[in-house]
Symmetry: C2
Subunit: 580 residues, 2 copies
């Protein structure tokens, strides 16, 4: 037995454990969610229908002492994009699920009625309970309530009102060690899938974090020590991220002319400094109280990129405020007030919305004139009142950027495969443009984070403004990322993995020691390719072709200031990304 699958049937309201088939021995995280979705969900299924399945899987290394291995993957057919989808999040839950011997939770079927349920998974049993009293709750109160009932060591996976209402902008929340619900598997509307199953939350009850069995403990320990050293030695993971968090990128991207501003109409934001990582860190420090930087999202994290943003009284407003969230709710909306940004971020966490899709949709609605660029108060009202209550305007925001663009007849709509683009303008960071265009997930920066070589000069340098070299860069990163997403390792370990020669071998050594196998470094590439092939095959059967591997038309014609660039990687080159 290589582990268990916990199957939860929401039509029958039954739970059962079954053995993970042997073929899935080395499938974890995204590899396992994508394999199970590809094997069990018809590609033509309606994403909110009874034939879709929500799959939750910790990474292969989650629950061991491997540093930074606490990512939890959530997968399904996406109601936002229509593609296969995996989105992963930090927080404390992946390790707990893994420590219970569960390799995947598969939520299937759909209830006949409208009621919601709660799944409680303990060390001895799993059960479904009616959750009528929790229905409609925002994730903050819900997490408080569930910790009150099940203890403050519980992992909580949940949806807010947006997920209950099956809005395709809804994400799946997981909690951190303080009970904040801000660790989101945000992208692709997975919260709507969970909502469509009538599942309000999953509570994972165990105190353990590092209890997953390892076959060769000594070898594992040695490899983990080496990997930790690589993380400790890299300047991005040992200094920039802990000091400023990911929001350090605001100034960097602004400088590079690739910070999408006011719905991707400019590459620089005049007020970027006001909402930069530096400003955020300074504000948090000055205010004191519960705010802090250098926070960890799960036990065993060595990078500490997270933060808790506090208000003027020192009360925690939002944890964390990440770069992509700050950008989406800030510069992309012409908003520079950090307090507005933090409140918007908190509202996303509470109502249960993907911060990126929310910010991109807000930008589109601002372009449509529904609210004004820069009007933080109006944006707050839109999320807190309209979306929370499911008013028509709230439903429009909950439908995502592509739908909003369609409803208002706009052409400047920054989406690929229906998903809003994250915080890097592909005209000025062309490697990420290739990833947005071709990823199996729609526009997704994490699927092949070419910003590394384009901007951060990690893993070499590829000129971000030239079309040359971007396809190779994106391809290699998409393959590597698929593999990393299977391990449960935080994507930020990619910095040492790309630059420190013994980092990747130490990860392979950990996997070999844990599972008693003999992978080589070369196998990792094949492993990543297989994941992508599985996902591409699903998408192809669902109707996706190379015509969908394209950026929106306006990016080919509209020049982006300050560099005056368009996206000029030729279509034929884009079609070479998956030539393996």
């Amino acid at each position: 037995m290589v582990g268990k699958i916990l199957r939860v049937n929401m039509r029958e309201l039954t739970v059962r454990y079954e053995d993970l088939p042997d073929k899935y021995l080395l499938f974890g995280g995204r590899a396992l969610t994508s394999a199970l979705v590809a094997d069990e969900v018809p590609p033509g299924a309606h994403a909110l229908g009874e034939n879709n399945k929500l799959v939750i899987a910790p990474g292969l290394l989650s629950g061991t002492t491997a540093p930074c291995s606490g990512r939890l993957s959530v997968g399904a057919k996406s109601p936002l994009t229509g593609t296969i989808k995996e989105s992963n999040a930090g927080g404390i839950t992946a390790q707990k699920v893994a420590c219970l011997g569960i390799r995947a939770i598969v939520v299937e079927g759909r209830p006949a009625g409208d009621g919601f349920h709660l799944l409680v998974v303990g060390e001895d049993e799993a059960k479904l309970l009616p959750a009528g009293d929790l229905t409609g709750m925002g994730c903050y109160r819900l997490n408080e309530e569930l910790w009150k009932r099940y203890g403050t060591k519980s992992g909580v996976i949940s949806v807010g009102p947006a997920g209950e209402m099956r809005m395709v902008v809804a994400g799946v929340s997981t909690n951190d060690g303080e009970g904040h619900p801000g660790r989101y598997a945000g992208r692709g509307g997975l919260g709507a899938v969970m909502g469509s199953k009538g599942l309000k939350a999953i509570v994972v009850r165990t105190d353990k974090a590092f209890d997953v069995p390892v076959k060769n403990r000594e070898a594992f320990k040695e490899a983990a020590r080496k990997f930790a050293k690589a993380i400790a030695e890299h300047p991005v993971t040992n200094a920039a991220l802990p000091a400023y968090g990911t929001a350090v990128l605001i100034n960097i991207l602004n400088e590079a002319g690739g910070l999408p501003t006011r719905n991707f109409s400019d590459g620089q934001f005049e007020a970027a400094a006001l909402c930069s990582g530096e400003a955020l860190a300074e504000t948090v420090q000055k205010r004191g109280g519960k705010g802090r930087t250098g926070h960890v999202c799960h036990p065993g994290c060595l990078i500490r990129c997270s933060n808790i943003f506090a208000d003027e009284k020192g009360e925690a407003v939002c944890a964390p405020v990440e770069y992509e969230s700050a950008w989406a709710l800030g510069p992309n909306c012409g908003i520079s007030d950090l307090d507005h940004i933090a409140v918007l971020n908190r509202l996303c966490n509470d109502v249960g919305l993907d911060t990126i899709e929310t910010g991109v949709t807000l930008g589109v609605l601002m372009e449509a004139g529904v609210l004004a660029f820069g009007d933080g108060e109006a944006a707050i009202d839109l999320l807190d009142r309209e979306v929370r209550n499911g008013t028509p305007l709230g439903r429009i925001l909950g439908g995502g950027a592509e739908a909003a663009g369609k409803l208002f007849g706009l052409t400047r709509v920054p989406t690929v495969k229906g998903q809003g683009m994250p915080a890097y303008d592909p005209r000025a960071v062309k490697g990420i443009g290739v990833t947005y265009a071709t990823s199996t997930m729609g526009a997704d920066h994490t699927a092949g984070y070419s910003v590394t070589s384009n901007i951060l000069k990690v893993g070499g340098f590829v000129d971000p403004l030239s079309p040359a070299g971007q396809v190779d860069l994106s391809r290699n990163l998409q393959i590597a990322t698929a593999a990393v997403d299977a391990t449960g390792l935080c994507l930020f370990t990619a910095f040492p993995l790309l630059d420190v020669d013994y980092a990747l071998p130490s990860v392979v050594d950990m996997l070999n020691a844990q599972y008693g196998v003999n992978l080589t470094v070369g196998d990792v590439v094949d492993y990543g390719k297989e994941i992508l092939k599985t996902e591409r095959a699903f998408n192809r059967a669902a109707g996706f072709t190379k015509a969908h591997d394209r950026l929106p038309e306006f990016m080919r014609h509209e020049k982006l200031a300050p560099h005056g660039v368009t996206f000029d990687v030729p279509d034929e080159k884009l079609d070479e990304v998956f030539n393996f």
Copy 2:
């Protein structure tokens, strides 16, 4: 010179005539709109962007004395479906355009600003005029105003507020001989394309209706006489349609269990008799005044299926009330009050909305609980206030059924390729289901009207409840329809064309006489196939695959009362429709 193209550039605000290339000699109506769109619009273009083109073309026989040849085709890449799109309408304008020697009007480019223009096409010149004073006008007032300015013999092609707002439910209105704007090229959001071009209306100024040159006048006259005889002899075109109009189908489809009721949740409507064609005719007769049946939509029509619905005072409310409109705004919304239906129909005509897409979207919103099934007053308010003013809820309706379904997280959403299904449930009328699934246009009954053989027993009988024979039926009709749509002939001539042996030869004789060519009856099939191949190739390049040639998942699982049927034509059979 085989005719002229009138090119209207909305970026430069210029008009110019050019010779129709020889290769297009025998391209008219849909054949010409589809060929021009395929030749000149990049398949990846944004449908509301500067690279899409709106093409307006009369049929090959329009403007001659061929009976029932007044159809006007409008084509573009559709903002609703993303496919190539042709939608055609009756009314007086096709003949006028043809009599001016214009084979196609091609509207291209996109204005930099927001202002609207009016295109006036006369016998000597065409010009663009600012239309600021007409902006925001409903089509009824607009048509009155334009007839006041340009005379009551003018053809008027226009968009209402919905088209100006680029709502993808917006259609293109044309007028009838009384100046009613209810002749719609409704489907596929072509009104939004016209609106995106900043074109409020086109006025076609000529009194002529039958002035197109014919090479061999005697042969033409003889062939036209024969064709008229065939129309006069067929029981559908000589009795049922003139007496009751198309709404005669309400009772017929209800009887057959294929009248989609309350958002396709039932196949029969308990109050069908109240809104049937028979009830409509009786009401119109009883009320007197301006109401009537047996009305013609253009000079030379021999079928007279049209009607003018009058209110209790005898004032004209809406012309015409067609079956699909009455169904969409009636039974599909649980509404049986003919006065409500007629007012809703008038509002669609005035605001500039496709009645079918509007009704299907209303059905979806009723299922979502936004308004109640059967609440005609609420539906009227939604169109008259919310849509007309572009409120958030109005924008949702204006986004069509698929978007509404997505925003409200529903799975019972009756669309194919993003377009709402017309008035025949494909589970109980399986031939039309094959057409909906595979048509190049999305769910479109006119693309291959299998209702003929399934229900009306015209052109043979194919059991509507069995999957057998439906693919062949739909294929043959899709091919024949493409050819008919090129001629400018009303689709109702298909009844004699299918049943009367000399009908099709007489059409071929007319074409030969008019153009001095030697087509055979056998050529007609190849001609239809070529049109479909052109359209399929465009769609393929735009990203459509066999995965899109499918009905919504719920129709495979949810049984339709009263027959308890699902849609069970196998996918592999659907993929055989275009095996030519």
